[in-house]
């Protein structure tokens, strides 16, 4: 009689994910019994879930856990990303409640969906099997499609959800096809296995099937991180989606895309480094330039930040091209910083917005500094960080990314990056010009800062400034994390 091989289950390796999905399902049950006006309790409960998950993540730092026959690996790399994801979803939940009440889409499913999306992101970071990564991506994407169209009564939101779904499904095909070709060439879907196989059969590095597989996976991931020319969905989806979800999408899933992208390419395909660095070089330049130049012409602030987030993905790609310790650690550091500054900026946008968001144009920020000096100041901090001006996190992050590129000899890439961030100052400063140098047209009387918003903005500012003033500690963590 044959013995059935019991897979090496190691629940410790999926503990943070398990916590989130269990809490998410409990919330779904509770949701049924909660009246609409009390849905906020779900938010608080999900925050508890996030806290527990964060505890498991932090606790596991330094002790990698492998599980499910090497399908998942909860190492420092995934821990670092998990912190970004959890932070991102926690801040999103904090700013979501007031928004969904205002926009009258206060459905309790919001919070479980965010938790599920976060679970998906975590699997993308800790997956060491192409299948795990793909499953994580799907869990994330499906949750996001719903979240993007969450404001059911809003046509734009519907449009965003549908567009995201169509294009997401379309691009997923490329990713999956790439994975299939890779599997075909190497006979395994395990990331470590692929690397090992290629190393042992060096002839494979000339194999067109594997090369195309690699390129298609790059395309699939590029769609997730919204790199040009696979970025077209971003502005429409970001503009239409409910604002907290836009904030969420621009930070968390993008980081998850980078996590999977980095792990697959750095661990499984180092033999193709010459090929993928030249591809990413081109993508980085295109992405930065497209993002920044188009952002200049935007009047809608959400749309502007969408293009800005494309540009920021381009900056992060610079570190990827460098593919050295400084550059890759720089990506992690930058994604963490970006989470703080972008969620902070979106928090302000939600606060300033009115029902139906008729006032999302940059010109609607005229005179904010007169009526709400503290808010204008906070927004300025975030904008300065997005520009990359010291002493904010954005500056330090860009500094590491670009110095990584220089270290690897990509001087021109660094120069293009710096020129791009100089150009970006224009559209960020435009908001500040309106806030500080124009007379107020609106009275902003409706604007009310709830404790949740206060906490969010304070956390975001603290994050931006701490990372900007004393980056050493966090950079060290990032450097430890990228030793994969």
């Amino acid at each position: 009689m044959e013995t059935i091989a019991i897979p090496a289950v190691n629940l410790a390796a999926i503990m943070p994910e398990t916590v989130l999905s269990v809490v998410g399902m409990i919330l779904l049950l509770i949701n049924v019994f909660l009246p609409t006006e009390k849905k906020a309790y779900l938010g608080y409960l999900s925050l508890i879930g996030i806290a527990v998950s964060l505890f498991y993540t932090m606790n596991g730092w330094g002790t990698p856990q492998e599980g499910f026959n090497g399908s998942v690996l909860l190492d420092n790399f995934s821990h670092f990303f998990n912190v970004i994801f959890l932070l991102c979803s926690a801040l999103t939940i904090l700013i979501a409640d007031q928004y969904v009440q205002r926009e009258e889409c206060n459905h309790g499913e919001l919070y479980p969906l965010i938790l599920f999306a976060t679970t998906g992101m975590m699997f993308m970071a800790s997956g060491t099997d192409l299948m795990t990564i793909f499953l994580g991506l799907e869990v994330l994407s499906i949750a996001l499609y719903i979240l993007a169209g969450f404001a059911r009564n809003n046509v734009k939101s519907n449009e965003a959800g549908l567009k995201y779904f169509l294009l997401g499904a379309f691009s997923t095909c490329f990713l999956l096809y790439g994975m299939a070709l890779t599997y075909g060439a190497t006979g395994t879907t395990k990331i470590a296995g692929i690397a090992q196989f290629i190393a042992q059969n060096s002839i494979l590095s000339k194999n067109p099937i594997l090369l195309v597989g690699m390129l298609l996976m790059a395309v699939g991931f590029s769609f997730k991180i919204a790199a040009a020319p696979f970025h077209m969905w971003t502005p429409d989806v970001y503009e239409g989606a409910p604002t907290p979800i836009t904030a969420f999408m621009s930070a968390g899933p993008k980081a998850a895309g980078f996590a999977a992208f980095l792990r697959v390419f750095l661990v499984a395909l180092p033999m193709f480094k010459a090929e993928w660095t030249s591809l990413l070089w081109a993508l980085a330049v295109l992405t930065m330039t497209f993002g920044n130049i188009t952002a200049i012409y935007q009047n809608n602030i959400k749309r502007m930040l969408a293009y800005s987030s494309i540009a920021h993905a381009g900056y992060a790609l610079v570190g990827f091209v460098a593919a050295n310790e400084v550059g890759v650690a720089g990506i992690l550091f930058y994604l963490l910083s970006y989470t703080f500054m972008n969620l902070g900026a979106f928090a302000i946008i939600i606060l300033v917005g009115k029902k139906g968001e008729p006032n999302n144009n940059v010109s609607d920020y005229a005179g904010l500094s007169v009526k709400h000096p503290a808010l204008a100041l906070a927004m300025s901090v975030f904008l300065f960080s997005l520009m990359g001006i010291p002493p904010t996190a954005g500056f330090v992050g860009k500094f590491y990314l670009f110095s990584g590129a220089i270290k690897s000899g990509y001087i021109w890439l660094a120069i293009i990056g710096v020129l791009n961030s100089a150009a970006s100052v224009y559209y960020y400063l435009r908001v500040m010009v309106f806030m500080y140098m124009k007379a107020p047209e609106e009275d902003f009387a409706w604007l009310k800062v709830t404790p949740a918003f206060f906490v969010t903005v304070v956390i975001a500012i603290a994050g931006v400034l701490v990372l900007g003033v004393a980056p050493q500690y966090f950079l060290k963590l990032a450097q430890i994390a990228v030793m994969i």
Binding site: L166, L167, F170, S171, F174, V212, F290, T294, I296, Q472
Partner: protein, 669 residues
Amino acid sequence: MLEYVGLIPLFPFIGFVINGLLGKKIKNEKVVGGLGALMVFCSFLVSSGILLQLIGRPAEERIFEKVIFTWIQSGQFKADAGFLVDPLSALMIMVVTGVGFLIHVYSIGYMHGEEGFYRYFAYLNLFTCSMLLLVLGNNMLLMFVGWEGVGLCSYLLIGYYFHKKSAGDAGKKAFVMNRVGDFGFLLGIFTLFWYMGQTHNVWTVNFREIAANAHLLPVGGVVTLIALFFFIGATGKSAQIPLYTWLPDAMEGPTPVSALIHAATMVTAGVYMIGRLNFIYIRSHEAMLVVAIVGAATAIFAATIGTAQNDIKRVLAYSTVSQLGFMFLAMGVGAFTAGVFHLMTHAFFKACLFLGSGSVIHSMHHALHHAHSHDDPQDMRNMGGLRKAMPITYLTFLVSTIAIAGIPGFSGFFSKDEILWQAFSNPFHGGLNIILWGTGAVAACFTAFYMFRLVFMTFFGECRITAKAKDHLHESPLVITFPLMVLGLLAVVGGYIGLPKLIGDMFGGIPNYFEQWLEPIFAGSHEFTLQQLAHAEVHHSHALEWGLMGASVVIAIVGISVAYTLYIASPQIPKKFTDAFPALHRAVYNKWYIDEIYDFLFVNPCKALGNFCWKGFDVLVVDGAVNGVASIVRGFSSVIKNLQTGYVHNYALSIVLGVVTIIAVYVIR
């Protein structure tokens, strides 16, 4: 206690934050002012604890460095944010927090009812914090942070009455002139860092590490350059020739500010810096000579101007410039201990003098206000006979004046005499010594003269305001007179910790505690001098030293007698004198026209250049290029924008096109 050194600058910073953010809402002056003073007092307590702990240790262990965190790390370059406690910085924090506390208390009374009371205390606390950072910083960069911080606060406080154009201008002037000096300071830091790194692979900005590696520095050459760069910084902050003209104008600020910032603490930062970097200066006789000459020249130059001013605060301002000159003279002749000693005693008596003048102005202002007179309350020609109305102010003022004039038994005598003696007997400048001493001695004579002129014009003779106003003259409240009394006391006894050996021996061998205390800081330089200069150990006879000491006493008495003759005994003489030499009087009264010369030489050409750059270059070339680039980018942007059609099939097409291109490039290649 040493572990808690970080609290010393932290307390005033907390005060700054609270008063700065909430002061406007608190409104209650007692709370705002009390908090400001309390915070500085807390710093004073911690400082005292640290001082006592240092005293308890053996001399060679009186150094302690507390690193808070790594501030900057980039390649070879590393700077910690940390504090250095040693006898020199311990002394400085005592002066800053002690005198600072008294002036905070005084300010509660003096600034009563002022608009922006909270703003004043917030700035004053921020100043205290910056000054403490300056003296406690364990490396040159942190010191520079404090250096800039005090400069900023000085600017803010000079321009405190910003609705007055003169105050705004004075603040600007102070700031700009300080920037000129800061430029030199920065160059000094860079050059020193670069030189030590390039030639000896010692990449550091930390004071202890630099001092430990001082033996690597050559004598003269690049060290002269470094020393002179640092000295440029010092001339800016400490108001020496040629960058001194901002200090008299800085009197536009409230009087306690003049006492704290522009007399007792900030302006002595340059002296402190040279003391801190003594091992650099000792290695360059050229630089020392420059410092000595500039110091002596400033001392006498400012003293001459002081003799002809009528604004009570301006006299004191020029006096400060002159006294700072004495300190630099001391530094330039290698008498670092004497320079720092004079720094301390000067902090006591000059703070007392400024606060006393504030008390006088305060009283005059009220009296004139009640009498609906528009006379200037700061003009000494309106004063006179105030000693009857304001006995405490008068007494403390008199005591401090005697101290600054250099009458034996008072603090100023010990420190000033030590400087003059060292100027005469130092082994560095050979035949120039006699000139340095002579200049200092004449400056001391002028000092005695103009200070007593001030006292006589203000407190003696007949009161020159209307009888109606005169009835309203009154002594200031205790909150103002208490700091005066404490500082007056210090002005008397403060000198006894640094008795010259000559006098100490006479009274049964009382040692010079002050010199012993600072010994570890300057020991290295002393040793170096002995090695370098064979004749350094020349012993001058006691008779000579006694003689010179006697001479300085005589000089002081001459100055006082002249003042007495001119302003009490026969007050008609000054008038005759000015009539006889109108040109000389005008020149001195107008400060030797230095401001006008600077305007002509620097300010106006700069303005013209700025104008040209603006209209000729900036508007045409730079703006043209910038606007051109901007419109090109915007045009490009509006084209790209059209790609974003909103149709899903177009987006999918772009993805497909991207994929096809990528694969084509890689596979066909």
